[in-house]
């Protein structure tokens, strides 16, 4: 297999992986309105835990890390996802219950930096600044894959996982819980007034989203076989935000488009450009600055993203009639009916 295909499958892998990451952040921010600026921290937890679950005991490996259970794929991946979710519960109990938007964002971005600091400095946890490496490639032994054939194979595995997780996510967003999330995003006071336990719903959304973050992180660990703190500087959270804002908030297909544009075309493709002589890293720096500028332009000219959120028609269709017949209404419908009945425009 030649180099071009190697690059193409690497891009395919990152496309699917960031699709998963974007779905996780989208349910937190896009559906529920939680500004999770620590998102990349949850990704890192998933990655590290997946790594230490599949690595053998650290004695004799030249690395220092906890556990080392030699668990097979995908058990290690699932443990990684669940650990990220468990961490989300702790974070939500401390921060989410007490703070509103900006304060929450400040605390979360601080959390992201502190997590980074601790993982970077405390070597016995995840091998410090060197990070984990030589993580076993899943199925490589069973299927006799070498380094070249592993890449397309694992890009395919990630594609299947992404499709599965997309199916699950579209079930979640269409469920009553998904509608409650959107109601909280649009106005948490109204949602609370209608009897919804806002914190409980936000907690649910954090747990689901962080599971996606953990899985996405674990897949990166398995794909590249290594992971270290430079991969998850707090600014990386912004790349995931860029994916969902460019693609379209609250729209799963849009997220795939966003992942294609931001992650594949803007983040990874320029890495294959030849370096400018005498200026190491200049292309990466310029690239990151361009992503920032593009995102601001996007927010200004097309705030709904490339693919707009679908209008949830059930919200307005015949809600009033069904209210009169005593049918059970969703939150959106209740709000619409209430607005209709009181003659006030929907806020």
């Amino acid at each position: 297999m030649n180099g071009t295909w190697y690059y193409v499958f690497t891009l395919v892998f990152f496309l699917f992986d960031y699709f998963i990451l974007a779905m996780g952040l989208n349910i937190q921010y896009g559906e529920t309105g939680i500004l999770n600026f620590a998102y990349i921290g949850f990704v890192a937890i998933g990655a590290y835990v997946t790594g230490v679950m599949s690595l053998p005991n650290s004695a004799g490996t030249g690395q220092y890390y906890i556990l080392g259970l030699s668990l097979p794929f995908p058990v290690n991946l699932l443990v990684g996802g669940l650990t990220a979710s468990a961490f989300a519960v702790v974070v939500a109990l401390i921060a989410l219950r007490r703070l509103r938007t900006d304060y929450l964002a400040m605390v979360l971005i601080s959390l992201s930096l502190v997590l980074y600091d601790v993982c970077n400095n405390y070597v016995p946890l995840f091998n410090g600044a060197d990070g984990l490496y030589n993580v076993p490639e899943p199925f490589a032994g069973v299927l006799h894959l070498n380094t070249n054939s592993f890449i397309p194979f694992f890009a395919g595995v990630t594609g299947v996982i992404a499709l599965l997780m997309w199916w699950v996510m579209s079930r979640v967003t269409r469920s009553p819980a998904g509608r409650t999330f959107r109601a909280i995003r649009d106005d948490d006071v109204v949602a609370a007034a209608l009897g919804k336990d806002v914190f409980r719903q936000q907690l649910k959304s954090m747990i689901i989203g962080s599971f996606y973050a953990g899985i996405g992180g674990g897949l990166i660990m398995q794909f590249s076989g290594s992971f270290n703190p430079t991969a998850w500087l707090p600014g990386e959270t912004f790349v995931v935000f860029a994916v969902i804002l460019v693609g379209g908030v609250g729209n799963n297909i849009g997220l795939l488009v966003g992942a294609l544009v931001v992650e594949t075309l803007l983040v990874h493709l320029p890495a294959f450009l030849p370096a400018i002589p005498g200026h190491p890293g200049l292309i990466e720096y310029m690239d990151a600055a361009v992503i920032g500028i593009l995102l601001m332009a996007m927010l200004w000219f097309r705030p709904q993203g490339l693919v707009s959120e679908r209008v949830h028609k059930a919200a307005s269709m015949g809600a009033r009639e069904r209210l009169n017949t005593g049918a059970t209404l969703t939150l959106d419908e209740e709000a619409a009916a209430l607005a209709h009945a009181t003659g006030k425009p929907e806020a």
């Binding site: 309105g33 500004l35 600026f37 401390i94 921060a95 007490r98 703070l99 509103r100 938007t101 900006d102 304060y103 964002a105 400040m106 605390v107 971005i109 601080s110 959390l111 930096l113 502190v114 600091d117 601790v118 400095n121 707090p234 600014g235 912004f238 935000f241 860029a242 804002l245 890293g281 200049l282 720096y285 310029m286 990151a288 600055a289 992503i291 920032g292 500028i293 995102l295 601001m296 927010l299 200004w300 705030p303």
Partner: protein, 292 residues
């Protein structure tokens, strides 16, 4: 015990840097009501402005370069507000948009610094320094000057807010923007002045951070940002005096703890204090009503 007093000295220096930066962040937050996540990069950029004047362009004395670089950063902040942040804040009612724009701005500025100055550690061109014994505390000339600057600035901000017409307008706007506007205060002008002050304080604190740490990298401001957040939240968001008190508390706590634990984690102590504050008194020590 000597170690303890030495770390108290370092703590006072860190507290001075923190106080200047935290007051700059709080002033702007009080007026515009959103957090500037690019503040850490404002600090680093201001420090690089001073560095350029000190080492690359005019070879100015370090303190002259500090003042010029900081004022340059203040002007830069006014431009950023005028062309980027203010239009977004006017157009979108939800704070999220402008928050994410400041986040994007932080990415742009950080990588601009990397593109221009590279990732290498830079050093200011400083005169030879001497250490002085003040009782049990040991401080260099530069550290004493930094502390002096911080004390003067805090007094200056206090005088500005309490006695001048401009300061009164700022406090009025911070309490209630629409009411201030209907009372005839030119809110746009106040916002511009506030951005200038905030940018200048960011540039100044970034430069003195580089001076006290002895080196300068583009990421220095961002790594310091969460310590500022800790000081601001512990003090009570939006409260200027809270920011000063928070800075003193966090500055002393981080440096004194460094004498007893691995110094690599000293800044994380700030986060621990932040979490404890959230658990015990979520609105901060000097909370203003309606802001938390």
């Amino acid at each position: 015990m000597q170690l303890f007093w030495l770390s108290v000295g370092f703590g006072l220096v860190t507290a001075s840097v923190l106080a200047v930066s935290a007051v700059g962040l709080s002033l702007q937050f009080g007026i515009t009501n959103y957090i500037n996540f690019a503040y850490g990069d404002f600090m680093a950029l201001g420090a690089y402005f001073s560095y350029a004047l000190n080492n690359e362009l005019l070879h100015l004395n370090i303190w002259v370069a500090t003042v010029c670089g900081s004022v340059g950063m203040g002007l830069f902040a006014v431009l950023v507000n005028h062309f980027i942040l203010a239009p977004f804040a006017r157009r979108f009612r939800k704070t999220f948009y402008v928050l994410i724009v400041t986040f994007g701005l932080s990415l742009v500025l950080l990588n601009l610094e990397y593109s221009i100055w590279g990732a290498d550690v830079r050093f200011f061109n400083m005169p030879m320094d001497r250490a002085h014994h003040l009782g049990p505390i040991l401080l260099t000339n530069a550290q004493l000057i930094v502390m002096g600057i911080a004390v003067l600035l805090m007094l200056g901000v206090h005088t500005l807010l309490k006695t001048t017409r401009l300061g009164k307008s700022m406090r009025a706007m911070s309490d209630n923007t629409s009411l201030a506007m209907t009372s005839g205060i030119d809110t746009k002008r106040i916002t511009t002045i506030t951005w200038f002050l905030s940018g200048t304080l960011a540039g100044l604190s970034g430069t003195v951070l580089g001076i006290t740490e002895g080196n300068l990298t583009p990421a220095a401001g961002e790594l310091f940002l969460f310590v500022i957040f800790a000081a601001v939240i512990v003090g009570g968001v939006g409260s200027i005096y809270g920011a000063m008190a928070g800075a003193l508390l966090i500055g002393l706590a981080t440096e004194i703890s460094a004498a007893y634990i691995n110094p690599a984690y000293k800044l994380d102590i700030a986060f621990v204090i932040l979490i404890l504050t959230l658990l015990v008194r979520p609105s901060g020590l000097f909370a203003r009503p309606g802001k938390a």
